[in-house]
Each structure stands twice: as C-alpha cells, then as structure tokens.
Amino acid sequence: MESQIEITGFVALYIFMLAAFAGWVIIGHVPAILHTPLMSGSNFVHGIVVVGGLFALLNASSTTEQAIGFFAVLLGAGNAAGGYAVTERMLAMFQTSGQQTRHAKPHHAKKA
C-alpha cells in the first residue's frame, strides 16, 4: 500500500477520533435487548483484520513470515466467519408478537 496517501501523525489521530466517536454514538443507540448480537456483530467487524493478514501473507518473504501470516489469515477468517454466523442466527430469532407462527423450534432442534 506504499503508493497510497500516507496516513501519519495527526491525520491518523483524526481518523481514530472520528471513528471512536462514531462507534460510541452508533452503539449508544442500540437497545439493551440487542446487546448480545451487537457484541457479536462488532466482534465480526473487527474480523476485518483478515485483510491485514492477507496483506502480510502475500508480502511474506521467508518461511517464518509465511507461517505467521498464514496464522493471521486463519484466525482473522475465523473471527469474521464465526462472528457473522452467530450474529445472523441470533438476530433471526427476534420476532414481534405479530408473527408468532415461526418460533425458534428449528434452531432448537438443531442444537445437539
């Protein structure tokens, strides 16, 4: 990513500050009833680290770097895929009394 615009010093701090503020405000609006899917959902979002892992792995030039880069992508992919799977499952369970015909029975049957 060398030829991109350099993000250094204060520019980086501005990005961090604005992102932290956005996160705080957005998350503050989420009702307590959704806090578990919210947590697994934000958990999923930091799975974006897999992109950094891919960058490191593709630029690896020794066996050590390859091994650690592989590890990074493996864990990052797990973070992203797992976080998505559980969040989607949980959110599908929240229903209003208007649509009580579809209960969570299939989910219940699935878990051993």
Binding site: M1, S3, Q4, I15, F16, A19, G23, W24, I26, I27, G28, H29, V30, P31, A32, L34, H35, P37, M39, G41, S42, N43, H46, G47, I48, V49, V51, G52, G53, L57, N59, A60, S62, E65, Q66, F70, F71, A72, V73, L75, G76, A77, G78, A81, G82, G83, Y84, V86, E88, M90, L91, A92, M93, F94, Q95, T96, G98, H103, A104, K111
Partner: protein, 483 residues
C-alpha cells in the same frame, strides 16, 4: 500505470467496507432492521476480502518468488479458518454464546498480534511512531488472545474455579512492567542501533511471550459472574489492536473498523460495570470473592414455601404478571417451558411481561437472546428502566433463577455490597413467587430480604421441573384455560 488500478480498486473497496460496517451497525438500533444490518456489514467484509487479493499485483520485490505459494496459503487459511468458524457458529447452542464470542475475540486479537509479528520479525516497521504503534498493537492483541482463551475456558466450564494466588497483583504488575521494558528496549535498539543483549528475534519472541502470560494472569482470578465485563473489555481490546495494526499497514478501513469496535466495547464495558455496581478497575484488579461475606443477618419474617401448582393457579387468576428471569433459568434450560406457561396465562387473559436485568446472563443481553430463542416476542421483553415502575401495579412478580438483581438491600442497606446497584423492584408487586433451587444467598453472598417479605412465597426446585408442574396445574383447571 498498470499498478495504479489494483491500488484504486483496493482503496475503493476498503472505503465501501468502512461505510457498510458503520451503516450496518447503525441498523442494529432496532430488532426490525438489525438482520439487514449484519447482512450489510457482511457485504462490506466480502468486498474488502476479495479486493485484498489484488495486493498480489503489488507485492514487494523480496516476496515475488513466494507469491504463488502465498496465494495458495491464503486461500487455504481462508477456507479452513472461515469454514471451521462458520460451521461451529451455526451449531453452537445459544447458552454457549458467551464463550463463542470470547473465542472469536481471541482469534481477532491473535490475528492482529500475528500481523504485528510479521512486521516486527521482517523488520518492516520503520521510524519510532510505526515501531511503537506496532508494538502496542502486538501487546494488546496478544493480551486479548490469551485472555480471551482463558475467558473461553472459564465460560465453557473447563476452568472451574477462579485461580487466585498470593501477591497476584504484584506479579501481574511485574509481568506488565517486564513486557513494557522489553518493548522499550526493542525500540531503543532499533532506533539507536547498537548490539542488543539478545538477538532481535529472541527479544521479539520474549515480548510476545510476556504479553501472552500477562493476558492469562490478568484473566485467571476473575469470577464467572464478572464475565460480561471481561468479554466486553477484550472486545474493545481486539478492536483497538486491529485499529493500531491498521495504522501500521496504512489501511484506513482497519483503522476505522477497529476503532469503532474499540469504542463500542468500551461503552458496553462501562454499561455492564455500572449494572453490576462495580468499577471496571474493581472487576479487573480486585478479587470479588474475597470481599467479606456478610454473616447471616437476621432477616425479619420467614421463608414461606409454596407448591408450584398453587403458584401457577394463582397466576392464572391474576390480571397481570411480570416475570424476572435470571441465569438460573438458563442453567435449568427452562426458557421453552417458561414461554409455554406464559402462553397459557395469555390465553386465559393474563397480561404478561418479561423484565430483564442488564447482567442477567454471562454476557450483555444474553437473557434477551435466550428468551427470543424460546420464541418470546421481543415486544414482551422490557429492560430495567422501562419496566421498574410497573411492578407496583403488578399482581404477581415471578422471579426465576435470579437473586441479587432483585435484592432490595441495593436500595436501602448502605452496609450491603450490593448497595447502589440498579435492581428490579420485584418486591413492590402485590405478590411475589421466587423459583429457586434451594435456600442460600446469591452470587454476592448476600441474604435477600425480598424472600422474607410478607408478600413473597418460595417455590423450591429446578426451574424447568417447577414450570412443568405450573403448566400441568393450570391445564388441569379446564380446557378453557388450556386453549
């Protein structure tokens, strides 16, 4: 230039990903839009991952001979890591959600730490700022990895007891100081030159080792009921580590996503700590179990046991009932039976609401998910501040598997360790039934005056078994009630 195009596409994809993450999280503000929110965020992830393969067009000179192998490795890692996690995430039971989230947290932290390790071992971080930020991200990521693994083991019941040793705090402090010292030394040697006492890779290894040990030591003494705070804090840590490594890699999407999650995790941590009447520092650095346990204080009144069936019938003829579910209900796997009972009551014309305390469960909001899984519509589920005034006009409060969160001592008894904690005012209801496995104090080791109140009856037994008896008793009243 031919190399410009991949760069542009990657840049645009990352920008799109950052937007979709924020937009997706924003849609989580309501249960109606939340499912589309996670889908939108997932789309962002997919776009970013696909685009990142374009890095292959612009790898550094040294990595070029390895490129094909590296691409193959990347595909294998994505398939194996993503596949295994997807499969486990699809089949994990809702009660095991906290340990699963802890595990994914650890993975993210580990990935951030590993990226830092590649940068450090490869000597790619140059300049003081980059080096320090890399090390900081490595430290936080490694602590998050090992700490989350311990949290996972605790929540999964592999580690049963909080492990506390003499002088734990001093040991933790020493390990932390040693980690920082090694990190500082790495910076010093790299910038000022000179020959280090150990070879550089050994120093970096030592740094990671110490950070991992610190994560373990920090998490071991923390008890099971404090886990909501711990999970939230490691979520924030991993986000922070990802954001910092994003700076090192000069990737704004990682910086933004990481920092958003870091702030979100911090907010949830503070909310949880507040709901537990503790400060974050208090959870992390003191051992709750060592708080002087109150001796059995003399409670006015007595415990009055009641039959499950009688309690069920009493509620059948009540006008409105508020149910306070606690973690004990989940332990007994009684959610399905509870909702079955509630449906019986509803068909008999009883108005039923659920009152959920923020710390009911092992992670923020877990009880809400467990109720939703059992089929309870979310418009029947109310949070503490929304329902607390309704108890005074409720005919019955049914407390199942909850204790400390309904202890009136939190309102009145300044000497109680619970004093000041926000509680559900179940004691204000006209009548209270408490379903409980047996006598005894709650997690905080405090007697509960609610149980001794004139308006309270105890229904002893396993929550699920008690609910089955209640259902049978109400059904026995006749078909009109059992519609």
């Amino acid at each position: 230039m031919l190399t410009m195009l991949p760069q542009l596409i990657i840049g645009a994809a990352d920008l799109a990903a950052a937007f979709l993450f924020l937009y997706g999280l924003q849609r989580m503000a309501s249960p109606v839009t939340a499912p589309s929110g996670i889908f939108v965020a997932g789309l962002g992830m997919l776009v970013a991952i696909l685009a990142s393969f374009l890095y292959a067009f612009d790898v550094n000179e040294a990595a070029r001979p390895y490129l094909l192998v590296n691409i193959a490795l990347a595909l294998v890692a994505l398939a194996v890591g993503g596949g295994l996690a997807w499969w486990s995430g699809k089949k994990v039971a809702m009660t095991s959600m906290p340990q699963m989230v802890a595990l994914y947290n650890g993975m993210g932290g580990g990935a951030a730490g590993a990226i830092a390790a590649v940068e450090l071992f490869g000597g790619k971080a140059n300049g003081a700022t980059q080096l320090i930020v890399t090390l900081l991200g490595a430290l936080i990521g490694a602590v998050s990895l090992s700490g989350s693994l311990i949290a996972w083991a605790k929540l999964d019941g592999i580690l049963k007891q909080p492990l506390r040793i003499e002088g734990q705090q001093i040991l933790n402090l020493a390990v932390m100081a040693a980690t920082l010292a090694v990190g500082g030394y790495i910076v010093f040697v790299t910038l000022a030159g000179g020959v280090p006492v150990l070879a550089m890779p050994a120093l970096i290894g030592l740094f990671f080792g110490l950070a991992l040990v610190f994560g373990i030591l920090m998490t071991l003494p923390i008890g099971g009921a404090d886990m909501p705070v711990v999970i939230s804090i490691y979520n924030a840590f991993t986000g922070l580590a990802v954001g910092l490594e994003g700076f090192v890699l000069q990737n704004p999407a990682l910086m933004i996503a990481g920092m958003v999650v870091g702030a979100a995790g911090m907010l949830l941590t503070l909310l949880m700590a507040k709901a537990m009447n503790r400060s974050v520092g208090n959870v992390l650095f003191t051992n709750f179990g060592t708080v002087a346990k109150h001796k059995k204080s003399d409670m006015p009144g007595s415990l009055k046991p009641a039959e499950a069936g009688d309690a069920g019938i009493y509620m059948r003829y009540a006008k409105n009932v508020i149910i306070v579910p606690g973690y004990g209900l989940a332990v007994a796997q009684g959610q399905q039976k509870l909702y079955e009972f509630v449906k019986l009551l509803q068909s008999a014309g009883v108005a039923v609401k659920f009152a959920v305390h923020p710390v009911a469960g092992r992670m923020p909001g877990q009880m809400d998910v467990l109720l939703a899984e059992a089929g309870v519509p979310y418009d029947l589920i109310f949070q503490l501040e929304d329902i607390n005034d309704d108890f005074a006009s409720a005919d019955v409060a049914l407390v199942i598997g909850a204790n400390d969160v309904v202890n009136p001592a939190a309102r009145s008894d300044k000497a109680s360790p619970l004093y000041g904690m926000p509680i559900l005012n179940a004691d204000k209801a006209k009548h209270v039934y408490v379903v409980k496995r047996g006598g005894g104090a709650g997690y905080a080791g405090v007697e509960n005056a609610l149980f001794y109140g004139d308006n309270c009856n105890m229904v002893y037994g396993d929550a699920q078994a008690v609910l089955v008896k209640m259902i049978e008793a109400v059904r026995g009243l006749g078909l009109s009630a059992a519609a």
